[in-house]
Amino acid sequence: MILNYIKIAFRTLRKNKGYSFLNIFGLAIGITCASLIFLWVEDELSFDSNFPKQDQVYFVSTHQEYEGEWRTFGSTPGPLAEAMKAEIPGVVRASKTRGLDLLFSVGDNVVNRFGRYVDNDFLDIFSLTFIEGNSAEAFKNPESIVITQATAEQLYGEHEKVVGKILKVNSTDNYLISGVIENLPNNVSYPFAWLAPFERYGRDKEFTREYGSFFADTFAELSPDADFEAVDAQVRNLLQEQTGDADSKAFLHSIKDWHLRADFENGEQVGGRIDSVKLFTVIALIILLIACINFMNLSTARSEKRANEVGVRKAMGSGRARLMIQFISEALILAFIATLVSVILLLVLLPQFNLLIEKDLVLGLSKPSHILFLLGIAIICGVFAGLYPAFYLSSFKPVEVLKGLKVTQGSATFIRKGLVVGQFTISIVFIVSTILVYQQIQHVKNRDLGYSKDQLISMKVTGAMIEKFSVIKQDLKNTGAISNVGLSNSNILNGGNNGSNLTWTGGVDTEDILISFRLVNAEFFETTGMELKEGHGFSENRAKDSASVLITESFAKLMGKGSAIGKKVTLDDTYTVVGVVKDFLYGDMYGASDPVLFLNYHDEASFMYLKTNSEIPTNDMLAKVEAVMKTHNPAFPFEYSFLDETFNAKFKSEQLVEKLSQLFALLAILISCLGLFGLAAYTAEQRSKEIGVRKVLGASVSGIVKLLSKDFLKLVGISIVIAIPMAWYAMENWLQNYAYRIEINGWIFVIAGVVAIIIAMVTVSFQAIRAAIANPVDSLKTE
């Protein structure tokens, strides 16, 4: 029996090639799209899951209160880790860590790698696997370093016989390689390429032993039977006792939440990546749904052709259940073929998709879970898509259909129209969302930053760049490629050092206001294009500015009415405000930035900024800069980034939403069009006699095209009416996530509606015109 079904299914497929193609291709696109999303979701959900102690490992963060608002920071004081381990019973291991880039050189082979200075416990908290060496011995010598297999291979071309070698670090220090550990997978929240004893880092840094400085990333492991709530509270108490600061609340952040639930608002966990994961899962399901709707639609549309077969089979003694099984089997076969097609599509598209989302996903067809998933999707789609046609087709009465009476299509037509409306509603919502996401991102990108990000190169300060700064600056300018050179202790785009222990003229509750500090050189402002609103900038002669500060406008406002020039700010010493700079944006690109205080002091600068001459081609300019850097800082590789690119990178997660929503909108429309195309073809065929009669009676081609298109356009019209409030509601919600956002403009809906109508018109008219220009003799003689 089943064999019979399969046979007939394949023959039906072959006989109706166009229909089969629409059906299989539509479903295959849906399955491909859903699979891509689910691969991404799987990757997101698997972050940090390779570490075995999933229920025990925590990161210590703090909520801190400023101006009545709780903000969340990852840094904690150095002594906290040890104190937690010593004083809180549930904590079995704890490690303070400090993440840094180190420059490793082996002969001519020089690489820069991010890693961490850690306590010995770190190795066991994360159950790191040693390929060479072991966790007990690794850090016995404070001058030792443990590297990952990949780092070892990059440095030495192998990962064996590496232990015991001396590694040159930052071209001055020598570290002894004491172990090689297995590589970490890509989906790790706190990655590292090397680990070294914290002792080595903290040796000459007094602040690492004090509670006053929040600089470390602290990790802790709780005993399996520890009471989380109690430990969490004790960590909080411990920090408050030690700092005497009630506005700083430490809390434990579980390893399971590091990637997915890392957004905090006013001291509360408010989600994070998990929101995107949920959103995209829903979108994947919606796309599958559209594809299944297509399938149902096309199947029921073809019901008349199958009606006769149903009648015969019933007269031959088939019960309804058997017919349903037959039609569902057919749907399943189609779904399986579609799944096979989609596997091929996935193989072709996955590399492109990886580029798009900047991940390294693999199809993993050898994984049982993936095979099961594909089978599951095929079965669910097959059954779901086949169920309605099965019910509908098997309900035909043999007497009626065998007599050649027209199948009464009342309910089926209604449902079919409903399904088309559903598909187009979703498509229009996608179109609107795509436009709005794009607008929002452009809106923020075009925001006035308070400085010019173009023609700006950023370099991390390494080696002798500070010592030889004046020579380097002069040589750079002499090349003609660089007009200004600025220095700053922190990246202009990001936060950086801040504090609330200042007082100033006219200041009220100053300890409650977080001020950012920027240690810069005089030329920093000219380099970045920051605008001086009042007073004057810093002097090239730093001695003159030993008691001067520049502040931003928002800081000036905190000082009360009138010019801020001449007012005093007290940090450790008291400074006089000599200039006011226009507010600039850093950190959260959607919010407003904290007030900033600038000091003319560049000895601790971490970043060098170069304003380039736009007339010199980029390649020449880079070559010239590199030559200068090689002369004065030969031990370090020339590494740089363009600030506008770094700026764009800050929108990664929004841009992912943007790209994916474009992709989904396109796919949803494509699938919907396949369905509409099939339906139009069916309608044209079904009405061929009517069209023939009308033509004989003198109807024009355009009149008939209009007649055939009208009904479909009505459906698209209904979709627009339904989609607008849905899209408006969804996008208004999405925009609420951003403090700096666009207003939803009415014309977007007009555009989306027009686009949908045009697409539907093109799809339908192709069939309508074909039907309209056909010779009526052909359609009439068959009757």
């Binding site: 019979n4 023959r11 089979r313 007269a315 003694g317 009465k397 007497v399």
Partner: protein, 223 residues
């Protein structure tokens, strides 16, 4: 004494068309004995097809009694009814109604599938039937590749494969030319001789003459 196969007692079939009630079959009384070959005659719309469909249990009488082999069909549930006709009745249609996607062989085999006949038995039965109708050479062809007469031959073979007691044929030669018609009617006569009860609806006097009894219908009544 021959067995009564079909017994109709005041059997009536009405349909509602808008506000009107139309009587398609009006108080039909009819007994069909096993081995009979009945020809139903009458003009279009006289109720021949409706009567055949109701006897074949594809349609129901709305009133009156219908007994098939002593079992009261009018009081049966749909499920039992379908079991009954699956077992005892074969249909032959004017438009053949073969399944286009199936070969000759598979078309003939289909009723056996619904009767859950084992595969080996099915093979033997279909082979017998192909033999008997001299269409072994055409078993792998699709209906579209056959002439009308050949298609109807397959239709009859399909109706017979389940070894029914009763064959219901609605204008079996309506789409055929006279030569093909004659062959089909000869075949019916032959089958009837072998013991199959046949009820056919026909317009043609000559076809009707093959039957052992002619029943004339007019406006839903036997005249």
């Amino acid at each position: 004494m021959k067995t009564i196969l079909v017994s109709l007692n005041e059997a009536t079939r009405t349909v509602n068309s808008g506000r009107h009630k139309i009587t398609l079959l009006d108080n039909i009384n009819l007994n069909v004995e096993e081995g009979e070959f009945i020809s139903l005659m009458g003009p279009s719309g006289s109720g021949k097809s409706t009567l055949l469909n109701c006897i074949g249990m594809l349609d129901n009488f709305t009133d009156g009694g219908y007994t098939f082999l002593g079992q009261p069909v009018h009081r049966m549930k749909e499920k039992n009814r379908s079991k009954l006709y699956k077992e005892y009745i074969g249909f032959v249609f004017q438009a053949y109604h073969l399944i286009d996607e199936l070969t000759v062989y598979e078309n003939i085999e289909t009723p056996l599938l619904y009767k859950n006949v084992k595969s080996s038995e099915r093979k033997a039965m279909v082979a017998d039937m192909l033999d008997r109708f001299n269409i072994v050479g055409k078993k792998d062809l699709f209906p579209i590749q056959l002439s009308g007469g050949q298609q109807q031959l397959v239709g009859i073979a399909r109706a017979l494969i389940g070894q029914p007691k009763l064959i219901l044929a609605d204008e079996p030669t309506g789409n055929l030319n006279s030569k093909q018609s004659e062959e089909i009617m000869e075949l019916f006569a032959q089958l009837n001789k072998e013991g199959v009860t046949i009820i056919q609806a026909t317009h043609s006097e000559s076809n009707a003459a093959y039957g052992s009894r002619i029943i004339n219908l007019l406006d839903g009544k036997i005249v």
